[in-house]
């Protein structure tokens, strides 16, 4: 039996696949434990999930050398399906670290809501006017649906497992599977708040547009398979170099359609319409998760297929990604600029649009890779994307964490609610100011500035001068709204609400003194420490921009 199958059975390097495997195992453990835990012990689930993620992240340590590969074909050439190279390890670190922060961020969200089932009385918006504000009111703390703890942690870990698998996948089938494992639980996470209309609507929107993108991508993958006869990225790269001229159109269509799927995940134009509604409808930690890990999944998949599988068609996808990058950042920034500060959820909306814009910056080095002369140069260029993404992950999660903190006292989540935050919570205001300046790329957010510099230099290096100029204009637009938000933090607090609002005013004043959960403080603190450390020693992440990762 063994002798017979020996030629076909692939050996498995368990250590190499430990990070996604542990995450998946933890997901199952949480799901099972949920059945046996009493209601009051549910918070244990959160710590179990966090522990699982931390353990998975720890198992990245032995993989630092980046020389492990497994699930290799035993015949001809030995193309591998799973490679734990430097790129994979860094992205896995990003994914697992981001998921860990998200888990900490969710702790209070899930368990506070799970615990106090009693509605907190009528929670009307203090300045309720018009439909938007009314909608915000119905979503106040009491009105919000509860998040079921067990399912939440299971879905979060499953999605993280898929996201951790993706950067190491080296064949199209594994890539698609990983992408779906990362996405499917995300739909459920978005719609998890029971009895919340906005949440279900957001989930449906997200689901439908995502499924369309997946279908398109699968078609692309099948075209590529038809044209090249392989699913392994390295072999596709070889085969695409000399495609039968009759199949050339098919291969080109396959390349473009495959990219569409990943472009959707990164929320690139024109696949970005789902973002703001989904972020607003989802529980806040889930929005944070989507904005960081969802994007990481998208762009790492994009990097893998473009740089590893389709280098022969760089003249097709290079300009396409460049145009996409320019459009994405412009659309995101212009929409973010148009957010009215007094609209309900404008803070999360602004973060959502700004994340669309940031996705545009992330795409720039990938586009630059399309113009690279050699595969080494291409790998070098995408390093800028990785460096930028690491910065973005830390800082954006921090910003979402502060938003979560503010939403606890101001459920409407308007930008105007941040006015005078420095007076009531100086540390949180300083942290948010720092995060926003990092996102804007302005000192003292040194890391944000230099991450942008690497992206700029990738573009200038590749001769994409026009894209660099478009990005420069966008950086200024973005500076406008980030700075405006920062300035609001330090303005004098609004004078006390008029007596006419009566009970609402007192209701708004009362929760201002609520204690901040330790897990939330930890997330903000961790993100701030990361941001400050990186600002002092940008080399920590920027070295990925100088060395070839792939």
């Amino acid at each position: 039996m063994t002798a017979l199958a020996g030629g076909y059975v692939q050996s498995v390097d368990w250590l190499a696949i430990a990070p996604p495997t542990i995450t998946a195992a933890a997901a199952l453990a949480v799901l099972v434990a949920d059945l046996f835990l009493a209601e009051r012990n549910k918070p244990l689930l959160g710590w179990l999930a966090t522990g699982g993620l931390a353990l998975a992240a720890l198992f990245l340590l032995p993989l630092r050398d980046g020389d492990r590969r497994t699930f290799c074909l035993t015949s001809d050439g030995g193309a591998c399906s799973y490679t734990a190279d430097h790129f994979a390890v860094v992205i896995q670190l990003l994914v697992l670290g981001g998921a860990l922060l998200t888990a900490l961020l969710s702790m209070s969200e899930v368990h506070d809501r799970g615990a106090d089932n009693t509605p907190e009385g009528p929670d009307t918006d203090p300045e309720g006017r018009g439909g938007d504000a009314g909608r915000a009111g119905s979503e106040g703390r009491g009105g919000r649906g509860n998040v079921p703890a067990g399912e939440f942690w299971f879905l979060l870990l499953s999605s993280a497992a898929g996201a951790a698998l993706l950067p190491a996948s080296r064949d199209l089938a594994t890539l698609v599977v990983a992408l779906e494992v990362a996405s499917l639980p995300a739909f459920a996470l978005v719609g998890l708040r029971r009895g919340d209309r906005l949440s279900s609507e957001a989930a449906l929107k997200f689901f439908l547009s995502s499924v369309t993108a997946t279908a398109v991508m699968l078609m692309g993958v099948s075209f590529v398979y038809a044209a090249t006869g392989s699913l392994h990225l390295s072999r596709i790269a070889g085969a695409l170099g000399h495609v039968d001229p009759r199949l050339d159109t098919l291969a080109q269509a396959g390349v473009v359609l495959t990219l569409v799927g990943f472009a959707f995940k990164t929320a690139a134009v024109p696949f970005h319409f789902w973002v703001p509604d989904t972020y607003v409808g989802a529980p806040l930690p889930v929005a944070a998760y989507l904005s960081v890990i969802g994007k990481a999944v998208g762009f790492s998949g994009l990097i893998l297929v473009t740089v590893l599988a389709f280098p022969a068609y760089a003249d097709v996808w290079g300009p396409a990604v460049a145009v996409l990058a320019g459009l994405t950042m412009t659309a995101g920034n212009v929409a973010a600029l148009r957010q009215r500060p007094d609209r309900a959820h404008s803070a999360v909306r602004l973060l959502a649009w700004s994340s669309v814009a940031q996705a545009g910056y992330l795409l720039v080095p990938i586009a630059a890779a399309g113009y690279a002369d050699s595969s080494g140069d291409a790998a070098h260029a995408v390093g800028s994307t990785v460096a930028y993404a690491l910065m973005y992950a830390a800082v954006n999660l921090g910003a979402f964490a502060v938003a979560a903190l503010v939403t606890r006292t101001h459920p409407a989540g308007r930008l105007s609610d941040y006015r005078g935050l420095y007076a009531s919570r100086p540390a949180a205001a300083l942290a948010l100011g720092f995060f926003l300046l990092c996102l804007a790329g302005l000192p003292p957010g040194v890391i944000g500035l230099f991450a942008k510099v690497t992206v700029f230099s990738a573009a200038v290096d590749a001769g994409l001068g026009w894209l660099a100029v478009v990005m420069a204009v966008n950086v200024v637009i973005a500076l406008y709204y980030y700075l405006q938000w920062t300035a609001v933090l330090f303005r004098a607090p609004e004078p006390a609400a008029q007596p006419t609002t009566g009970t609402a005013a007192t209701a708004a004043a009362a929760p201002a003194t609520r204690a901040v959960p330790a897990s939330l403080t930890a997330v903000i603190g961790l993100a701030a420490v990361l941001g400050v450390a990186l600002s002092g020693a940008p080399q920590l992440v920027l070295r990925f921009a100088s060395g070839a990762l792939l």
């Binding site: 302005l442 000192p443 510099v453 230099s457 204009v473 200024v476 080399q539 920027l542 070295r543």
Partner: protein
């Protein structure tokens, strides 16, 4: 002084204000609490800026004045190998005067603020921002790496924005926005230019790039780079027609903000032109110099005409705005000097830089004092029908204002004279290959500008300092809401005001009588920069 001591002095110039800025946010330690938290933090600001000034003076004393062209007190540490960014600090004859000027003006501002804190939120943030601003400006003049230069250039924006936005006067929010948006737009373009230079030149090190003297950059690259970098610096300088942020920002800023904005921040633009553009991309600079000169000449005329319009009776001109426009004119001379690409012109530009910092700093202080006393800087309200009669009512203040005005118009014997004369002299015989007739025209325009400048400044003196001494005065109140500012009793120069202004007056006289002290420093360095660092 040995090398290590100089090195640490230069590093301290940047690190001290940064640390001081952080420390200002923390509660005062026991023993340093003073008369209350506000007083303690303001005193902290004076102490830190005082120490920084002492360090700057010590650096100037230890500087080897026999070799001003050599980069001294150099520190060169790798910071971000991925981008080849190094913490490279150094000082030569071009940057040393600017470092001392910055340290001096910031110290004087901190001192002035200690006694006369502008109305606004807590002094804690004020001091922290002031120190951060100082760190950023000093770093701009001390770093020798293009990316660090950019970083330092940007660092000053946030503190200045908040200084204007939180402690400013009427229209401050709009003015602060304009200031930061204009400068950011310019500096992002500049970043692209710097990156282009760095990537094509193979390094971000200014010294290495200067000694390459553009030999590694093609003509097109140099043109694009100079255009991009030039736009960023020209917004800051400011060059007409990119100046329109400046009058609003100066008018709205608190006194201390105006002094630093005019005295130090504008210099970052012209310093960048001399340090980055001239030596690193000489071909590009050569091609674009006539345009720069033309804009500079227009700026000179435009600035003085704007001032003349403001000073008219019934023009409702604001004295602060007038001095802001006069800055556009004065910086026009600096830009003209740089555009000649000759040692004479560039030396003149650097001299005019320092002189403008001293004189305009003094003028903004004086106008701030007028505002404190009269509650307005509107010329029509100040002078009423006849004149504000400052000579009669507050003779010392009036005298100082007249001194500042004549220094600003370029009276020989005061600092304002030499720089503008040298800049025009440079334009008389521009560098080889530049069109002489064009530059002669610019020189003539600049000469006309000096006449117009003299005209409006003398009108200011006539309207503010002269006039009939009112017979009856309502005694006592300083800030009382008397409808007629012309009728109020005036306090003459106070002690702390003397302390803050005397150094500026003394240095203005010194610079006028002994220009060699400054020119001797800058000339060898300029010769070397123009010759390509050899």
């Amino acid at each position: 002084m040995n090398h290590t001591a100089l090195q640490s002095l230069l590093a301290a110039l940047i690190v001290l204000p940064l640390l001081g800025s952080l420390a200002a946010l923390l509660p005062a330690p026991p023993g340093l609490r003073g008369r209350g938290p506000d007083q303690a933090v303001l005193r902290h600001g004076v102490t830190v800026t005082g120490v920084v000034l002492a360090a700057a003076v010590a650096l100037a004393a230890g500087f080897d004045h026999d070799r001003p062209a050599a980069m001294q007190a150099q520190t060169d540490i790798s910071w971000i190998p991925a981008l080849d960014i190094r913490i490279h600090l150094g000082v030569d004859g071009v940057s040393l005067p600017l470092l001392v000027l910055t340290a001096l003006l910031t110290f004087l501002c901190a001192l002035y603020g200690y006694f006369n804190m502008p109305a606004g939120p807590s002094p804690k943030a004020f001091v922290a921002l002031l120190l951060l601003l100082e760190a950023g400006t000093l770093a701009t003049f001390a770093v020798l790496d293009l990316m660090l230069f950019f970083l330092a250039f940007e660092t000053v924006l946030i503190p200045m924005y908040f200084l204007i936005n939180r402690w400013g006067g009427a229209g401050r929010e709009r003015a602060a926005w304009r200031f930061i948006l204009y400068t950011l737009l310019g500096s992002v373009v500049m970043l692209l230019g710097l990156l282009l230079v760095g990537l094509k030149g193979g390094t971000f090190d200014m010294v290495a790039l200067a000694s390459d003297n553009g030999s590694k950059l093609s003509h097109t690259t140099q043109l694009i780079a100079v255009l991009a970098i030039g736009i960023g610096l020209a917004v800051k300088a400011p060059m007409w027609p990119l100046h329109s942020w400046l009058p609003d920002a100066h008018t709205a800023a608190p006194t201390v903000g105006s002094v630093l904005l005019a005295g130090v921040l504008l210099k970052m633009g012209t310093y960048g032109l001399v340090r980055v553009v001239l030596p690193i991309a000489p071909d590009g600079a050569h091609a674009l110099a006539p345009y720069l000169a033309a804009f500079a000449a227009v700026g000179i005329i435009y600035g003085s005409l704007a001032c003349l319009a403001l000073v008219r009776t019934g023009g409702r001109g604001d004295l602060k705005r007038l001095i802001a426009y006069s800055s556009v004119g004065h910086m026009g001379f600096v830009l003209l000097g740089i555009a000649t690409l000759t040692p004479t012109g560039v030396n003149g530009a650097l001299f005019a830089n320092i002189a403008h910092g001293l004189i305009t700093g003094l003028l903004f202080f004086l106008v701030g004092a007028l505002k404190d006393r009269f509650g307005t800087t509107d010329l029509d309200q100040l002078s009423g029908t006849g004149g504000a009669a400052l000579y009669g009512r507050a003779p010392r203040l009036g005298g100082l204002l007249a001194f500042g005005a004549v220094a600003s118009l370029g009276l020989p014997g005061l600092a304002g004279f030499w720089g503008e004369m040298l800049a025009m002299f440079g334009a008389f015989r521009p560098a080889d290959g530049l069109s002489r007739p064009a530059f002669l025209t610019f020189m003539a325009l600049a000469g006309l500008g000096t006449l117009l400048t003299a005209a409006y400044l003398l009108l200011v003196v006539r309207r503010v300092c002269m006039g009939e001494h009112p017979e009856e005065e309502i005694p006592g109140t300083l800030t009382g809401a008397s409808p007629e500012p012309g009728r109020r009793a005036l306090v003459d120069v106070r002690g702390y005001e003397f302390a803050a202004w005397t150094p500026l007056v003394a240095l203005t006289v010194l610079g006028g009588l002994w220009p060699a002290a400054l020119l001797g420093l800058s000339d060898p360095a300029v010769q070397q920069l123009l010759a390509g660092g050899h």
